[in-house]
């Protein structure tokens, strides 16, 4: 427009741009909406939540009306949708922040040396510890990893190196995907039914938990390992074949080591996924107050089940046990987060090998 302006001409002015709202329009609208909602809320004596909701609505309606008046209907819709997208993001993240804040603030007070090193055996009043549950979780999850990693990795090798596009391979691929959707409690019931038939009715033991968790873990390991094996360049395999190395040795000495970083990352993430599972362990491992380090005999405590049962059936000391449940939840979240970070770090540290 500036280029045209100085020339006083008879030509009717056609601006190159339609009028736009100022760049800060959303901010201005937000401030006005917030002020209006607070004033309205305070004068009517509302709580925080209705004020926030009203403010959001005033913002949405106000901004799109303003845009409709100054710009046009299409721009107004665009602004409305943009605001809605950000609103959805905020709504989805508020619970996450609230959850993390609650777990940290309620849980941190109960964590101390005794909490981490005692069990609940013979604890009658006052807080006990969660050592038995931590050990149970570690043993059960380790067992699940020992079952899942070889099966999952070998199956992934089959899919990438041998099966490829054969009918069996595509069925396995498809059913592995379907398997990721098996409800965790069904995996628990499966393990319970399996051990009831093989060992004896009503058997509950830690190893059963490992079996149940591996049903949930194998599909994750297969999918992530498959993706990683696929990334290994064909050149590497062919170079190895050209040197006369058999295919199985090529896979073991060239393909898998090249993909190792990604595979380890995938396995770590899979462990992080299943370590917080509650429902299957509730059914097949039961719960106990004592330390049980033998996965093949007797009920075994675990962190998630401890959290659940302390909150659901706290017994004589509800306040103390509920407090302990929050502490155990914090420990569990810390373990899961540590595994997630570990996975990322391992992926970064080991990844140069896969490069080039």
């Amino acid at each position: 427009m500036t280029a045209v302006a100085p020339e006083p001409s008879l030509v009717v002015e056609h601006p190159l741009q339609r009028p736009r709202l100022p760049k800060l329009a959303p901010l201005i609208a937000a401030v006005i909406a917030a002020a209006a909602a607070v004033l309205l809320g305070l004068s009517l004596g509302w709580g925080v939540a209705p004020i926030v909701v009203t403010g959001g609505l005033i913002y949405l309606v106000g901004l799109s009306t303003w845009s409709r008046l100054v710009e046009n209907a299409r721009a107004a819709t665009d602004r409305l949708v943009t605001s809605l997208v950000w609103t959805a993001l905020v709504i989805a993240l508020i619970p996450l922040i609230s959850l993390l804040y609650t777990v940290i603030s309620k849980g941190s007070s109960s964590i101390n040396a005794k909490f981490l090193t005692w069990s609940m055996r013979n604890v009658l009043d006052g807080p006990g510890g969660i050592y038995h549950a931590i050990m149970g979780t570690l043993i059960i999850t380790l067992g699940a990893a020992i079952i899942s990693v070889p099966i999952g990795l070998l199956a992934a090798v089959y899919l990438v190196e041998y099966g490829q596009h054969s009918r069996l391979a595509s069925w396995i691929r498809f059913l592995v995907d379907v398997m990721t959707g098996i409800p965790s409690i069904v995996a628990g019931l499966f393990a319970y039914a399996l051990f009831s038939i093989i060992v004896g009715p009503g058997t509950q033991m830690g190893f059963g938990g490992s079996v149940a968790l591996s049903i949930l873990m194998i599909p994750i390991v297969v999918r992530s390992s498959e993706e990683m094996l696929k990334l290994v360049p064909t050149d590497l395999r062919e170079a190895s074949y050209a040197l006369g190395v058999p295919k199985w040795k090529t896979i073991l000495k060239v393909v898998i080591p090249t993909a190792m970083a990604g595979i380890i990352t995938g396995v770590t993430l899979a462990i992080a996924r299943v370590i917080g599972e509650t429902a299957p362990l509730l059914i097949i491992c039961g719960a106990t107050d004592s330390v049980n380090l033998n996965p093949f005999s007797g009920q075994m405590a675990s962190l998630p089940v401890f959290i659940y049962s302390s909150y659901q059936s706290p017994g004589a000391n509800p306040e103390v046990l509920r407090q302990m449940a929050w502490g155990a939840a914090l420990v569990l979240i810390i373990i899961v987060m540590a595994l997630n970070i570990l996975a990322r770090v391992l992926g970064k540290v080991l990844s140069p090998k896969t490069g080039h």
Partner: protein, 306 residues
Amino acid sequence: MKAGSPKRRLGDLVFSNLTRAAGLTILVALAGVGIFLLAQGAPGLTAGKEDLRGHANFLSYVAPLVFGTLLAAVLALLIAVPLALGVALSISHFAPRRLATVIGYLVDLLAAVPSVVYGLWGIGVLGPKIVPLYEWLDKHVGWLPFFAGPYSNTGRTILTASIVLALMVIPIVTAITREIFMQTPRLNEEAALALGATRWEMIRLAVLPYGRSGIVSAAMLGLGRALGETMAVALVLSASNVVTWNLISSTNPSTIAANIALTFSDATGTARNALIASGLVLFVITFVVNFAARAIVARYEPGRKK
């Protein structure tokens, strides 16, 4: 690669069969889930009144549970899908790259929180906080059967459970739809923008049609997760195994998974078989939902050889 393959040796024979066996193990395990549930659940199908908590037969025992399961899962989906689409779009098309990475991490964090902790949060924080909303709904839209009330004083209703379920579904739906939105052909987007489309019109014309099947299957995978989720519902819901559309009262339909978790340890004998049989029903429902969802994904997945 076929041409480069060396000739067969003993090691190859052993190793290739070993890997095939591992693949078959997975199929056997999946079949085993169905078979063992059926074997242990069969006695429960013919269980009598005393093992079914007063219900005449297995069908009338499991029907309200199926109703509750579907109701909770569908509600969760109604809440989760719009939010997840918003989050996915904000990552793929609205946020600047650096912010999008941060949002991606936060969504991963949402997925990493164990379900029992969600349950704890639902009963300890969300439940008490949401009671005023139920009071308001009861007062102002109580003529709707969904909000007929009387509202629950503890907030432990099926609506609260569904909100918690929705939180757990959001990361799954977001992850899949985000991938699909990002794969929208750049040229389609640029063509829309070059014709003068606003960002929303570009999304409506280029991104959403391209991702339609992905959105559907993401929603179905989310449904599968919501159907089978146990702990959040078991902790949050005060369940009484009834059939009702009332979402905010203190008598709520239970779900299959929550019912198993809540009653399994106290059940004995045939009652446990009946619970396992109800688990089989859940397995079949989720299997069908996941099967259909994956079939849709497999058909439309770009670049997959068919």
